[in-house]
Subunit: 345 residues, 2 copies
DNA sequence: TTCCCGGCCGTTACCGCTAACATGCCATGG
DNA sequence: CCATGGCATGTTAGCGGTAACGGCCGGGAA
């Protein structure tokens, strides 16, 4: 922003008044210049900008927001930052918000409904002009807060449920189903499942539900399953795969609830000389970049993370072609990427 | 928070006034109750809380912050969210801030000085009560903003330089040096380097500088090098390793600027039946969880990310034993984890 | 010339909340 | 008995901006 190093020894933080004094115009005029709003003559504008820069003035948005009843913040509430999927959603959001004057503010819930409630409350207390929040399942209190917020709400990642307002995501039930169908189609019959032990990861649960439903439709079922929580997902993937394959050596497919444990499973199989995808097939979920670097490409399903972030941001920013900022529901289509770990028929 | 779903059909957002009307006391008393400050009788407190809950009132922090001149926000400014290292720093920060009433707000710069300047300006305009910011290198304007902010500033990750105020981190030069010494000690002599092409990743640069300096002290040098930018780091690690080993087949050690490309390199070596660590040794940097899941543990150096986050937060929160909130410099000691990819002597 | 209009800038009244002070009440002690 | 003091509550005056409106001035239209 400014290019001059501001003067040393500042007693208190600067206000519009300081800039107006320094440039000989009213505070209102300074405000107009700094916001680029209303008519100000060229020379005046220059004088004001010079003064502001020289002083190192940084506007006080708190005061500005209170007076104008407008806040350029969009709350983005997500369960976690550590699993590669949400950072990509954020990238999409930032991209779209970039030139709107709006700014994303991130809150993390750690998959805890209590924390979600707290984070939401905290966010709302700053009166953001929109909310993007992961998932459709939440406590009654959280739902009430969203309903009464009076701002655009976009629930993301998932469309299997009833949104408060708008929603952008994929159907995880359908994703699970699709994967099951592809697996059965490829001739696998004795299928194992490996996943996380997170009661609040509703999307993983829905994928499994869809997966099992599709198997059932073919007269099949999940033969064995293995769960974990915490720790290095890659390592857990190895360990769980070892465990399940020892216990049920006749499994011919391992469906993992995410790519990271899937990668671990793949590494274990390759290490043990198991023929992939001949003897055992593998699949994960999310389509993270990582899988491209593995010795052979893990089958996965792209969760459309970037696109979800973009579309959600477009809604809150009023950037949709139809201008709608509420009641929009967008279901994206996850793409199956068979990679090298499902037999080609 | 509240447990009742708030009443439907809210015309405008609620204010203290609405709660005070509903509970028959003054706004000031409501304010006292909601902030748990000052004396309020038990019954009054109950009535007020009940009314607030029933209405679904959410305080307006904007007004509160303006009136009290206090903001419970701590700005955390980092280069990226997508490489596993900063989320862990954030975890440490959140942990410590948890019970202080302070709240972290994240800004991402994408390793761009211009964006850093913008993000910082934006953050400062909300008058946070502290700043935690990655790195020591920044534009004069950014430095000036920090110097004039009048709040605790903690620069994190790195201590090789002059902090504006406080700093918590490791010496990346020393980290590079230490790794070089361990490698030479183990008998490796023809050493290659693989890294990112990011002119603004000063910490990676410093590690390389330290690394080369230590080699030079032993009469050695980096024999070949390979750089990348963008894409899946794991895949790039494989590709770069293939490239460098094809070009310089006599290299006996590959030092990677981060664990992700190191993991890619390791997978490539294992895939090509190269004896690790006998014929070729490998090392990365960061100590990310991921490396534990690889077929053999990549040598790495823990960057103390969690601890850095914690210590930084303690400073801005005034939680240090000595209560200092400025001028604190903490150098943490990165630990070499030799794993299985450096010969044991 | 008069009138009107648009460019430019200032004045006033808040935005919703809290610090600081004022007030009323009751129990207590001299 | 009244002064004293602590509790519980109310009143007042901003915090630092901005919306809305008003005033002044110069120039083109009537």
């Amino acid at each position: 922003m400014a290019k001059d190093p501001a003067p040393a020894l500042q007693r208190r933080t600067l206000t519009l008044r300081d800039v107006s004094d320094a440039s000989g115009v009213s505070e209102m005029t300074v405000s107009r210049v700094l916001r680029n709003r209303g008519d100000v003559s060229g020379p005046t504008r220059e004088r004001v900008l010079a003064a502001a820069r020289a002083l190192g003035y940084v506007p006080n948005r708190i005061a500005g927001a209170l007076a104008s009843q407008r806040v350029n913040l969009v709350a983005v509430i997500i369960p976690s930052l550590s699993n590669m999927v949400f950072p990509e959603v954020l990238t999409g959001v930032s991209e779209v918000l970039e030139d709107t004057g709006l700014q994303p503010v991130v809150g993390v819930t750690n998959y805890s409904p209590e924390r979600e409630e707290k984070v939401l409350y905290e966010m709302l207390s700053w009166r953001p002009s929109g909310i993007i929040i992961a998932g459709l399942e939440r406590s009654p209190a959280a739902r009430a807060m969203l309903e009464n917020a009076g701002i655009p709400i976009v629930e993301i990642m998932d469309v299997d449920g009833t949104p408060v307002d708008s929603a952008v995501g994929i159907s995880h039930r359908r994703a699970g189903r699709k994967m099951a169908e592809a697996i059965v189609q490829a001739g696998y019959r004795r299928i194992g499942f490996l996943g996380t032990m997170m009661p609040h990861d509703h999307r993983a649960r829905k994928r499994l539900e869809g997966f099992e439903a599709a198997l059932a439709a073919q007269g099949l079922q999940v033969e064995d399953r293995e769960f974990y929580s915490g720790g290095s997902a890659l390592l857990k993937g190895r360990e769980m795969t070892e465990a399940i394959m020892t216990r049920s050596p006749d499994l011919d497919f391992l469906y993992h609830s995410n790519d990271m444990i899937g990668a671990g499973g793949l590494l274990w199989c390759l290490n043990h000389g198991i023929d992939v995808p001949g003897k055992v097939g593998l699949a994960g979920f999310n389509g993270v970049e990582l899988v491209q670097g593995l010795p052979c490409r893990l089958a996965t399903m792209d969760a459309c993370r970037l696109e979800i972030g973009r579309r959600a941001a477009e809604i809150v920013a009023g950037k949709r072609p139809d201008g709608a900022t509420s009641g929009v529901v967008i279901e994206l289509e996850p793409k199956l990427e068979p990679g090298d770990t499902i037999r080609r028929i």
